[in-house]
Amino acid sequence: MNTDDIIKAVRDLPSLPAVVNELLATMQQDDIDTHALAAKITLDQALTAKTLRLANSSFYGMPAKVTTIQQAVSVLGFHAIRTLVTACSVTASFTPAPGSEFDFPSFWRHSIASAVCARVLAPHVRVNPDTAFTAGLLHDLGTLVLATRFPDDYRRVTAHRRQHDCTAAPAQMAVFGIDHASVGSALARHWKFPEAIQAAVADHHRPAESGPATLSTVVYAANILAHALDLSGQEDDQVPPLSLAAWQSLGLSEAAWAAVFAESEQLFETMCQMLTP
């Protein structure tokens, strides 16, 4: 098995439902026919049911029940529904291999934590919170490709991590010669996510050395913040180093950080109950 095999495994992954691809395409469009898209979402019954369950959760604080996608779009807005539908279909795309030792619940907890932290950080640096949420949710999907397609090799990654007390990326490099950031960005490309999201997934361990904060900075910091807030529930979790440049480009005051911590912790629990497959 080499890097080419892994990239081939990514290309062999099933596509997302067609309507999700259409929704993703609208992330880069200005004029969107939300009515037509809502009607298309409705055609996918499983997706519709899950999206409505999410829309009716306390996360959105809706007093009355929404029963159709059209209603959900008019109450929550098209952007929120697009994010929910995408999140539902992405989390439904991977199932644990029988006998797998990979810790799926912790994986999803960390992905959802990063999505929530990205969403909370984004408005502070004028990044779209819905895009940030999606990028945060996707950022580690490369790990899931490696763990579900190559379960035997992935056992060695887990052993390497335990032995060296290191993060996932160096352990994956040692075993596969490629890390989850590269695999994940290939997957984001395969699934036709917007380029900014592909870049954020590719660079989530590689901060820019200077310049204003971008979506990539938000996802880089959100991943670190999710570890720092101890949201994945793994005893041996560790916070990756945070660059001074990224810290400064976020430019948050002490009060703003405290608010980010509190809001992230609060949103996380609700989001987790809804999105955990």
């Binding site: 306390s58 604080g61 809706m62 007093p63 009355a64 029940k65 929404v66 209603q71 008019s74 109450v75 007390d165 670190i224 913040l225 570890h227 720092a228 807030l229 101890d230 979790d237 560790q238 916070v239 990756p240 180093p241 945070l242 660059s243 001074l244 440049a245 990224a246 810290w247 400064q248 002490e254 950080w257 405290a258 911590f261 509190a262």
Partner: protein, 110 residues
């Protein structure tokens, strides 16, 4: 020790006169039925039931906590922070994030 009100989502069945809304109640079209911080009365409760509202978010006051237990919980949280930052407290941004989180954990309400 101060008691902090926190938002608490409850069934309308559990809602009682005198409770204060922590979030505005909206109808299915996003129209405001009752604003945030409105006090529920017998009349508004009856009206909400008629409209088929099932849940609402009200302020509820957290129970006071034993100070010794609180101190132990704080100490545990700070020790956990040190463990999580075991490889990154030395990075410049990491040290600053750790400082903010320490302040947050030390000052946080129970």
């Amino acid at each position: 020790m101060s008691i902090t009100p926190t938002p608490n989502e409850i069934d309308l069945q559990q809602a009682a006169e005198g409770m204060i809304l922590a979030a505005a109640l909206l109808d299915a079209h996003g129209g405001v039925l009752l604003p945030q911080d409105a006090t529920l009365t017998a009349a508004t409760l009856a009206s909400l039931r008629r409209r088929g509202i099932e849940r609402c978010v009200v302020w509820s006051e957290a129970e006071p906590v034993d100070p010794a237990a609180l101190a132990r919980a704080r100490a545990q949280q700070l020790a956990r922070l040190d463990r999580l930052f075991r490889h990154s407290a030395g990075s410049d941004g990491g040290a600053m994030l750790l400082a903010q989180l320490r302040a947050y954990r030390e000052g946080a309400q129970p």
